[in-house]
Symmetry: C2
Subunit: 356 residues, 2 copies
DNA sequence: GGCAATATTGCATCCGCATGCAATCCGGAA
DNA sequence: TTCCGGATTGCATGCGGATGCAATATTGCC
């Protein structure tokens, strides 16, 4: 059987005469070290038993050959790819990039690789699901919505999923989210306390769950406070539409509202610019404008947007943990973790008079 | 042998009594369809020969079982993972997220999956390389620099690499880049033509090749035009350091320069804010400030940064193609593709008087 | 020093699919 | 109807590593 190993390796060698040498396999290392392939395999595993002597011999041989365990082959036999799919959609908040990098780092620290899927729009999930399934990802972290049927498919395959900033009401799924409604309530309270009575709402793309949440949050609170003068227009989260929306708002109601609630900071910035540029309005003297997210740009001195900052770091950390836990223990039941944002009082909105 | 297949499948079944059914394999499909596993394999391949009748039977069985070819197993046998590694570093331009999404989409369209690696700093490449190698990616697209030794390792393994916005002088590597130096020359020309004689340069992180390129580009052109009053400070591409750098600049030279050249738009914005806020300088009346990249924020009305826009779409498209071509044909020699940016004349810099 | 308990090591086999080769099938030409 | 060439199909095997089991080497303990 030693002979067998030798033959195997020899055959491998001759097949690649001068051209690109094949990458070394555990058999090659085993042969060079004069041990069995299993031994090599064990040396490169965590909890496996191998004597010091063995470890040294194998490692020496491995170094000499530039051997690296083949994660693909390992995945095939262990039924664990150690990869998770991360799904984001393109026309989403400018703020997701940050999320993406942090997520990747969190996963990376725990030995999990990220297979990235970027959707053109939140709806394009079909082919992506097929891909994720074919690559046998161990889990899915998504910032895009899936249809109930897709969800069922994934459940059938026992692939844990964690939703990022989205969730399903009628279904048990794991999700990490920032309490959008709460945040909007804070903003509305702030604005109402400052004495504003007429409102404009700039919502995001129709298929964005987050945008819907924010809108309803704001509308509910406004209704509760007895404010009825509310006009809504919708954009796509981008700067340009922020500007357009502001103009539409004015056109729609004839005059500027006292306050504008934008679905995100970028559109809020668009509104501010449009208000200043085309309508000669002073922010916040003539009009208050608030956003959501707490992205970097919201802090630019020219805008200093009043907003609610999402605790991105804690959220990504939590999402990664949650997914990994469910990969390691599939029995865990779904869980929703909602994080509160932080109200950032910038200078784009009038402050409430009573500073209670 | 029909019997054999039956046994195999039967064994599989019994192993998973009630618990999670195992995912269907090509054997399961073969059995249900009453054909051989090879047949199933062929039906799910592109150029393979299979009769219409066969195709139908197999597909019917596959549908019934929810079968999906296992890309991991396929990768093992074909020696092609159909995955590429994309490496980005965190503290890099805010502008990369856009790049990332576009790259992913380009790859996706061509049937290639993206394994994402996010570095804390551009230097943290060591472990990442190990990972990429273990996962047997077919190619690497990197927006971070590798050491010559790492490069050698990758070359030994015959993994094609394409560098994004970085390259090596003394070595043949494929890269896609925006001509940073050219862009800076344009900006400098613009500023000098407008009559500016004293300059401040805000460079990026020391380990950013792009930043170095931009700085040298600017310095060279300034020298060529006989401008010697140049002060340099360095930041990290972020807004905050943009502000700090501007202050440092003034402190260093006692008075504001007539023009500031920032290594990217975000820092340019920081400079503008600091100039306005703390030094009561009017932009561009008292001072001209230019950036680089042409990110979204540069177009915000409050800044309207004069800058050079990188043709991101063409660059990502080109990078993806270049890598895929080299995966399909490893003999292709390295190639550098340099794209020209587009000068965007915003209002953050004085215009040249002669409008030639 | 002798023996049981424990730690190492090797063997054989499997993970799920692709593919060269041989066997079989089919249609058309003679 | 018979024969031939191309199209289909099945068989056997391999990709690179993990792992249960059995054989062997070590160790500790009395």
């Amino acid at each position: 059987m030693k002979t067998l190993a030798v033959n195997k390796a020899a055959k491998t060698m001759e097949k690649n005469g001068k051209g690109a040498r094949k990458r070394a396999t555990s058999y090659d290392v085993a042969e060079l070290a004069g041990v069995s392939q299993s031994a090599v395999s064990r040396v490169f595993q965590d909890g496996a038993s191998a004597s010091k002597e063995m470890r040294n011999r194998v490692m020496a041989a491995a170094d000499k050959l530039g051997y690296r365990p083949n994660a693909i082959a390992r995945g095939l036999i262990t039924q664990r790819s150690n990869m998770v799919a991360v799904v984001i959609s393109k026309m989403t908040n400018l703020y997701y990039p940050e999320v993406l990098v942090q997520l990747t780092q969190h996963f990376s620290e725990r030995g999990v690789r990220v297979l990235l899927f970027a959707l053109e729009r939140e709806g394009d999930t079909a082919t992506v699901i097929e891909q994720m399934l074919q690559y046998r990802v161990d889990g899915i972290l998504t910032a895009a919505m899936f249809t109930p049927e897709q969800l069922r498919t994934l459940q059938n395959e026992d692939i844990p999923i964690v939703f990022y900033n989205r969730t399903l009401k009628d279904q048990l799924v794991s999700s990490v989210l920032c309490d959008q409604q709460e945040g909007e309530r804070w903003l509305v309270d702030e604005l109402v306390n400052a004495g504003h009575k007429s409102f404009g709402i700039v919502e995001g793309p129709a298929d964005s769950v987050v945008s819907i949440e924010r809108k309803t949050g704001a509308l509910n609170e406004l209704a509760e406070l007895g404010i009825t003068d509310v006009t809504t227009v919708s954009g796509d989260y981008g700067y340009e539409t922020g500007k357009e929306c502001f103009a539409k708002l004015i056109q729609k109601r004839g005059s500027p509202p006292e306050a504008v609630i934008a679905a995100n900071d970028v559109m809020a910035i668009g509104c501010i610019d449009e208000a200043r540029e085309h309508f000669r309005l002073k922010v916040p003297d003539d009009i208050s404008i608030v956003g959501f997210d707490g992205v970097g740009q919201a802090r630019y001195a020219a805008y200093d947007v009043t907003t609610v900052r999402q605790p991105v770091h804690r959220m990504t950390e939590s999402a990664a943990s949650m997914l990994i836990e469910r990969i390691e223990n599939p029995e865990l039941s779904p869980e929703k973790r909602a994080f509160s944002g932080t109200l950032i009082r910038g200078s784009s909105a009038r402050l409430r008079s009573d500073d209670s």
